[in-house]
Amino acid sequence: MPSSQPSNEDVIQPAIGLKGWLRWTWRQLTSMRTALILLLLLAAAAVPGSVFPQRSADPNGVTAYFDANPTLAPILDKIQMFDVYTSAWFSAIYILLFASLIGCVLPRTAAHARALRLPPVATPKNLKRMPAFKAVAVTGIKNQDELLAKAETLLKKQGYRVAREGEGSTGSVSAERGYLRETGNLIFHLSLIGVLIAVGVGGGMSYSGQRVLVEGESFVNNLAGYDSFSPGTFFNENQLVPFSVQLDKFEVDFYRDLTLKNKANAGTPTDFRAYVTTTMGSTGKKSAGLIRVNEPLSMPRANLYLTGNGYAPSITIRDAKGVVVYSGATAFLPQDKNYTSLGVIKVTDVPKQYGIISFFYPTVGELPSGALTSLYPDAAIPMLSMNIYQGDLGINGGQPKNVFALDVKNMKQIAGGKSGVKGLRLQLGETAVLPKNLGTVTFDGLRRFASLDVDYNPGGVWVLAFALLALAGVTTSLLVPRRRVWVRKTEAGFEMAALARGDDPALEKVVADLAAQLTPNKSKAKKVAKPATTDQPKETDE
């Protein structure tokens, strides 16, 4: 392009040079080749996100990666390898791609709208050059125009748009079908823009909150009600409809095989059910609900999902005088498929703080090494083991600490491990004496907990609608054939030709069928010429 080379004239009139240059850039950007390269770049750019852990999907994985690769991780982090899908480079590619898409599709939409209103193109002079061609000799046609009229009717019936040109011996019919192909293509590309906008706007207005609920507990749908909460950019707190949810009961089914033939399957969970009662804040109306995996509970502007579960042993701790210093059901995090679970108890209302790291085994068994393990996920022989640490719990510092972890760096172990005092073991209902005259601990009961995810994304239905529209568009575009057909009167009879956009295996057949239909008496028709080009599909055996 000449305008890309600045010359002296450009210096005198810089505006034109700039404009020309911009136009050149725009033309490059909206070219088919650029679109293709950007698509392939996008595919390649998505790969690292599946290789490295991503902050959005797997924050713990990122932390673990930093621990395992302390030198490499910060470098990778600099080039946003842990945030691939929001990274500058990934965004740049898809923004360019969509700019190209808009620049390409809008003019095409306008052109297509014009084409829809115009008659089919004029019949070319030389039909023989078309990929499918046939000349038929017919004798004894009384009315020259009759044949063309018939061709017109036949083609119209097959969904062609038809134009008649000329009269008598020089007359012809020009027909075109398959405008839907281009319509489908444009709908597809335009819908992709719709998907992108719906994803962006919907994501901004969405929120996601997590809450662990032990059976019997409830929470209120406000910011304080959640253990963790991630709002979109445009979220505001008023979006949260006031309601509360109580977990009444949590049930799990495990696969039981009494024949013990299928050992691999024994103990696999087959169903989780969270029975809840919801109360609307505005009306106080209560209703019962059930949440299962794959079956979230719909609330106004919120969907409640079941994302995890486990055991919550009820524990009561009394000091040496018998005063209760800790009491309640604490959620323990499952560590394996038999629900060996880890829990942390922090006792703060005592002169010298202490913490307990505890394992829970729903069906306890002993390994050859003497260590405990869980043999089955259901609570058949429940057992708690406890190691106790005394010292600074780090709670008074004002720093929020993970409820599932105990930082024992500044603490002294007083039971279990190498402390010289055996770790405690309690069966359900048992009470054990704590070391150092700290009092007693009782394993009073056992409940279950459910982790709930509360999510709302108003963009979801729009994304789906545009995605389905895109699917319909692309299907139409790829499967509807677009072709032009011409019929022209000749001295000897008539000739016809067809041309397709893209690959069209039926092209020859279309012409042959039309010829047969137009010939008054088949025996009189005689093929006088073969297709000029033979590269059109014709299925042959080997």
Partner: protein
């Protein structure tokens, strides 16, 4: 529910039946391969006898597919659900669908010459499934208990099968157009050249591959959407760049690139054929490496 009944004995029978099918596939594959070598013979009399071989091969392939189908159905009955909930089952069902589509397509298009590839490839998948992926029948984890397992996965299997056949055609195209194949004086290459001469023309291979790929692309687009709908139900968001989602997206984008390449001057022909092959390699990668070694929700460690 505990009422789900798993039948371990029937599963064992199913495995035997599938292994039986593998044996017949082996015969079919050898017949097709032998047929090709006969066709490439310089002697006219040898070439004339080859057509019969091909017919025998097709019959063997049909028998193998029938036995294979029985094995798949038995597996489904043994597990009392659809037989595509883990890698083993996905492999045996997927390879069955590939052969089924190939045999059906034979009625419409003459693509008999890729029979060697199709039977060999299915045999390879079955062999891998039987030796590496095999597991006992298991009940479905709650996340998989959804009718989307039936729809989403079935359509993915179908799409994969169409892409598979298209890739075979594109590979044939690439060999046929390769400069080194045309020029080399090596004896092996000469034999290959003669075999390739029997294949449909370059033009036709390209068009056939395109036909299979567009069907595959439509089905894959549906797979992607259905997956997002299911993810919204099961994982509380319709899209989260989970590894499996990432690869579904990558594959979709590669094939979108392929479709563009077909309409871009300088990119149709060899380059687009390469894209069709790369797309299929990405599918294989998604199914093997991503499934086995990458971390993600699809292995479902969240709920235990």
């Amino acid at each position: 529910m505990n009422s789900i009944s798993l039948n371990a004995d029937l599963a064992a029978i199913s495995r035997l039946v599938v292994e039986g099918a593998m044996l017949i596939y082996t015969f079919a594959f050898l017949t097709f391969a032998y047929h090709l070598s006969q066709l490439a013979s310089v002697k006219k009399s040898v070439r004339a006898g080859a057509t019969k071989l091909q017919r025998i091969g097709i019959v063997l392939l049909a028998i193998a597919a029938t036995v294979h189908g029985v094995g798949v159905v038995l597996r489904g009955i043994a597990a009392s659900r659809v037989p595509w909930a883990n890698m083993y089952e996905f492999s045996i069902t997927g390879s069955f669908v590939v052969v089924l589509i190939f045999l059906t397509a034979l009625a419409i298009k003459d693509i008999r010459l890729i029979a060697t590839f199709v039977s060999g490839f299915s045999l390879l998948i079955l062999g891998t499934a039987d030796t590496i992926f095999y597991i006992e029948v298991k009940s479905l984890m709650p996340a998989l208990q959804s009718y989307w397992l039936v729809i989403h996965v079935m359509v993915a299997v179908l799409a994969t099968s169409f892409f598979n056949i298209a890739a075979a055609l594109s590979i044939a195209y690439l060999f046929k157009t390769a400069k080194w194949v045309k020029a080399s004086k090596l004896k092996v290459v000469d034999l290959m050249r003669r075999i390739l001469a029997l294949f449909p023309t370059e033009d036709k291979l390209e068009r056939l591959s395109y036909r299979f790929n567009i069907i595959g692309f439509i089905l894959w687009t549906f797979t992607l959407i259905a997956g997002a709908i299911w993810a919204e139900r099961a994982w509380h968001r319709y899209w989260g760049w989970d590894t499996k989602e990432v690869w579904t997206f990558i594959i979709w984008t590669i094939y979108a690139g392929y479709l563009h390449a077909n309409a871009t001057r300088g990119w149709n022909g060899k380059r687009s054929a390469w894209l069709a092959v790369v797309g299929f390699v990405a599918i294989l990668f998604n199914f093997t490496v991503v499934n086995l070694f990458f971390k993600g929700l699809h292995v479902y460690s969240g709920l235990k």
